[in-house]
């Protein structure tokens, strides 16, 4: 049996998601033939390990795109907007982790467990959803199908790794400064992040939503196939290094109970339902680090019983929220028997 191998590129190979992409391609034994790593000029020349081989990171330059069959973009919207269409026009499969193409109706926005059919056999650009959206939709889309969702409320607890490596350093340095009684220096975030938190992820729009909330609203409505879904999202940055958590409550159209929803989610793909007998089953950011599953816990009735349910969702934002979902999209598109 000869397995077809692909010339694979990662654009943004030195960032937090880029590093995770390399690990996941290796772990899942993705059929990588030639492997090309790109980043900004500043990072060019750095070495990254993949299957015990070292690969030098190159400065991004469209003239070196020749032959690339699968490309993962994770270098921000501007880079995606400029370079992804070039690769797509060469016939490559491009999985874009930025928000550049998520609003484009002609470009699939895919969570394989939910709408993998939109990726199957596809080439060109496929958009990878926002990290917070992926873990939310995996848990609530089955509920939308079964009972219909009337109102959806989400409050997020998002780690600094969503911003990237420099933000992780800022949390570390500010925390140490605080503990040692030194003044805190701000560089990345608008407010202090050490032992603090703020409902501010991206710029605010005229309706008072920050960019992260706008993304979650838009993408969730798209995945739930309801453009006028009533929802409230508050996106909050918290002093946690990795993994995003979400407190979610929903009012369903048809009456259901927490135990019916538990029965449904127990077999929902990508979801790991935590429903220990003690009612206290939940995950935390530290427990979810490096894990593939989306952990759904504390499933209970919104009170009084019969109106809807509430739950606690935790997932590794760099894995299912970003790199893992991107690789699964590629596996689905290429018919690699994604599992």
């Amino acid at each position: 049996l000869v397995v077809k191998k692909y010339t694979v590129a990662i654009i943004g190979a030195t960032g937090a998601v880029g590093c995770e992409l390399i690990k996941i391609l290796e772990k899942r034994d993705f059929p990588v033939g030639e492997f090309r790593l790109f980043a900004s000029k500043r990072s060019a020349g750095r070495l990254k390990e993949f299957k015990r081989e070292s690969f030098a990171v190159q400065a991004l330059d469209a003239s070196s795109f020749e032959g690339i069959e699968v490309a993962f973009f994770s270098a921000g919207s501007a880079v995606s907007k400029e370079f992804a269409p070039i690769l797509a026009s060469h016939g490559a499969l491009v999985v874009d982790n930025s928000s550049a193409f998520r609003a484009r109706r002609d470009i699939p926005l895919v969570i394989p467990e939910v709408n993998g059919y939109e990726a199957r056999g596809k080439r060109g650009i496929i958009a990878n959803p926002n990290c917070s959206t992926v873990q939310l939709v995996l848990a609530v889309e089955p509920i939308q199908r079964a009972w219909g969702i009337e109102h959806l409320f989400v409050a997020t607890y998002q780690s600094v790794s969503g911003t990237g490596g420099r933000a992780m350093r800022e949390l570390r340095e500010q925390s140490l400064a605080h503990l040692e009684g030194r003044p805190l220096e701000k560089e990345i975030y608008p407010s202090e992040i050490a032992f603090n938190l703020f409902p501010h992820i991206g710029d605010f729009d005229s309706e008072g939503l920050n960019l992260e909330e706008r993304k979650i609203v838009f993408e969730t409505r798209r995945f739930l196939r309801d453009e006028s879904l009533i929802l409230s999202v508050t996106a909050v940055r918290v002093p946690v290094f990795r993994c995003h958590s979400e407190a979610v409550a929903l009012i369903t159209k048809k009456t259901t109970t927490a135990s019916e929803v538990a029965d449904l989610l127990r077999s929902a793909p990508g979801v790991r339902l935590m429903d220990g007998k003690d009612m206290a089953s939940y995950s935390t950011p530290r427990l979810a680090e490096g894990r593939d599953e989306v952990f759904v816990g504390r499933l209970r009735n919104t009170l009084p019983e019969g109106h809807g349910i509430s739950m606690w969702i935790v997932s590794d934002n760099l894995r299912k929220g970003a790199a893992l979902n991107a690789v699964q999209i590629a596996e689905t598109a290429l018919g690699l028997g994604y599992k």
Copy 2:
């Protein structure tokens, strides 16, 4: 003009709330005549400063209750249950900061701005609400009166000072250990609190709510005068030293908009509405430390407009959430012209 002075006692004078009570009594120039501080045997003999005088903390003993006219309890439910009725039977005004009496229909549960009339002229026990409830109710009760609330959704971000001084030390020590690469030791919390968070504040009941959520549900329904209010509360402990934050969304019975609600809350007592032109106005735990106000920010429409509003509430859990509200209750009961 001779101002009547009271013999005042603090039971639990060495705890986080007790220390704050002493500061607030001083700052508000509460008419303290004799001042008696009580704590557990372990803390007896410690000295606390009040108006430049030192007071020795005594071990709690009902035989030293003679003459006490105003007592603040902040030493846990068990202590309140045992000792508060004794003081009340002597005719004292007892403001209890524990949950011991909050469910008792014959005992007022008071936020002076909301139902101060239940405290006016009162002696005996008055219950001080849960910290998370106070800041929530101050912001949403005016909305309940104006438009009616159909669904209420709350996700909290609660600091460790709500647990007390030892929890603050645990956050500090675990954080330092993490930053220095040492193993983390758990003593107070069920999960690591350093760079982590968990939806677990108090024990879980058979409906899957933790104790903090149960308190918020029960007390909020009481203050909003709606025993069957549909609501979802997720109470989460976060790695922040002081101040609680809440992401709140509500669906109103009568149609309203964020700008109408802003007009109402701008003059709501105890509330400081943050409604800067940039839509990004919000407080954070660090900004609210040591402040008396309940900061309401990020007031916006739950989407699409017309169904309800969403907001971000931050308050110092040791002040308005505990010690300040307790002192205001006493001022109201004694007719001291509380402002």
